[in-house]
Symmetry: C2
Subunit: 351 residues, 2 copies
DNA sequence: CTGAAAGCGCTAACAA
DNA sequence: TTGTTAGCGCTTTCAG
């Protein structure tokens, strides 16, 4: 059955709809309708086409399809990095939700760098993504307001995009930061240091506000330090604090990165938690429940956040009429373990 | 020049090459050549086209491009899950390497399930991926040998695909498993239990062989148990072992999942490491260096593995002539911390 | 219900 | 060097 012309791979060529139609003895249009499932096709015809499809191993070419329909069925997912349990969980949830509706995400990483972000978004746009879910490196960046980006739905999570015109899925950062600090206050602490990085990020700002509000209500002076994320900066700040006349007796850390470095410094210096310094961090850290003592943290509902982001995007993709933009604010959860000073039952769970 | 039909969004429409050419006053072909950068274009012409591009905010449509050239510039990345530090690092390395060559990965997750894997690959194929990097759920699965998949380069990592026709990037599983067991032997252990899940995975089999070889050389009977990954199975096996007349004094765990569950069980039962049972696991675990004692592990060079996988794929994508298929076997590293019984210097690092 | 025909935006000959 | 032309594989009118 092979032709004898010296084109060995020729018969391995990927089958097209035309071939399916030909094999089924129908027109191109009919085959198309049968496969995409809309439009009427007689039962018998459908069956013949089905057979032809599986006989040929036909798979629709999404490139051609997208070119024609102007819908690629791919969604851009723009994040700083995977790594932490929070982002990994979000990504999985998003991927899962999108996938059930026939969309597939392309994940790109920005390292939290605005320039990289702009470039990666550009790349996604060339691939004609139908929508985008993003953790913006800087919600005020100009490239987020390009004309092209305005034509597709964009939803942010973890960090909002400033200015209207974008949805965002966030947590109640201020409220839960405040709750964490109040918890420390409840343990009788008077000098509570708040440490963090990335002052410019809105969610970080909200957390700082929560800290300030709690301290203010307790009529206690804030002890706040925002440092650069460079190596050693956090440790240096801690050293300065603990060398001071009135060192903090408790520490509230503003995000995962800060918590990791803070804890590292504390452990290296043999500073005991919660005796010398109690600790609560915003965000779960990888090994938080397994340290000694287990770390008390404000934990974000990562899966819910991811699902909500995907759902919002999907809704917009479906919507025929304009939907109002809004910022969804989910509840986080203060998970009490041992580092805040509360008794801990000692049951370790590693997974 | 516009028609007067009521199509209000018409002027927001995304610009095409035709418009660029028109604005620059050149032919379509010239514009194409100017943008894709190959073929000759006069300096001045090029400049005019450049200006038109930026004035219009033109971005090439990769769908159309791909349809024509039969190259989508997207690579499928098929993995069971992100989550562990190993996979996250591999993914980042792959993404980075691919990106420098203009490729973009689409990541899909299989949960280690063959059926999901088949379905996701099908999806990727519709999007006309140019190549695929995969951690196969089952390297013998039929769907990996479909005609369509044979037409694009596929490289596996972490687990090989059986039968020739595929590259794989692996580590020297047998050798390093053996080294780990030898280390335990060196501490004087006679009864070393080896525990794990997923017997069918080739890399696991290699590790088991390493264990057996080490025990055999030491003229000691193997104490091997492969259980299902279901909840409690591992803990049950450990209970059985420790309740026996001759309980193991050391444990070698075959992968990350097993290590996590084993450690959890050990800690819950208050079994002290390394006094009651020494421990070494294959694969880094999330909190390994921070537990008490820090866990000794065989650690795979994740970034290198990812880079090697991407490089191999890229090479194949570029190659005009057939490259031989091979299985690259990288070195892992036995990282000595405290759980094996070695003294540990006590410096904790959390990142 | 079905077939024919017209492109989607781009690249790759081919002429000029 | 540059312009013209013919599709890539598919969906979508529009007639039949």
């Amino acid at each position: 059955m092979r032709s004898l012309t010296p084109t060995p791979r020729e018969n391995h060529v990927v089958p097209t709809l035309v071939q399916v139609a030909r094999l089924a003895g129908v027109g191109l249009g009919t085959a198309s309708r049968a496969i995409s499932g809309d439009g009427y096709v007689k039962k018998g015809t459908l069956e013949r086409i089905r057979r032809a499809v599986s006989q040929l191993g036909y798979q629709p070419n999404e490139l051609a399809r997208g070119l024609k329909t102007k819908r690629s069925n791919v969604i851009g997912l723009v994040i700083p990095d995977i790594g932490g349990p929070f982002m990994a969980t979000c990504v999985r949830a998003i991927q899962r939700s999108l996938r059930t509706k026939g969309y597939i995400p392309i994940i790109v990483f920005t390292d939290g760098d605005e320039a990289v972000e702009a470039q990666e978004i550009d790349f996604l746009l060339r691939h004609r993504i139908d929508g985008m879910i993003i953790v913006p490196a800087n919600g005020e960046a100009e490239h987020l307001h390009s004309a092209r980006l305005k034509q597709i739905p964009v939803v942010a999570f973890d960090q909002p995009i400033q200015n209207a015109g974008f949805d965002a899925i966030l947590v109640k950062n201020r409220q839960f930061a405040r709750e964490a600090v109040n918890h420390l206050l409840g343990h009788g602490h008077k000098r509570i240091g708040c440490i963090g990085v990335f002052r410019h990020l809105p969610s970080i700002q909200r957390r700082i506000e929560g800290y300030r509000a709690a301290m203010k209500q307790a009529k206690l002076p804030p002890l706040l330090s925002i440092v650069s994320p460079n190596d050693g900066e956090i440790a240096g700040q801690l050293d300065a604090w603990f060398a001071s006349a009135e060192p903090p007796t408790a520490i509230f850390s503003l995000n995962e990165l800060t918590s990791t470095q803070t804890l590292e410094a504390l452990l290296e210096r043999g500073i005991r938690m919660p005796e010398t310094a109690a600790f609560i961090g915003f965000d779960e850290i990888q090994f938080g429940p397994f340290l000694n003592p287990p770390i008390t943290s404000v934990i974000q509902p990562a899966a819910e956040i991811g699902e909500a982001a995907a759902k919002r995007l999907l809704d917009r993709l479906d919507a025929t009429n304009a939907l109002p933009y809004n910022h969804l604010q989910l509840d986080a959860k203060l998970v009490i373990r041992g580092s805040c000073g509360c008794p801990f039952d000692g049951t370790l769970r590693l997974s």
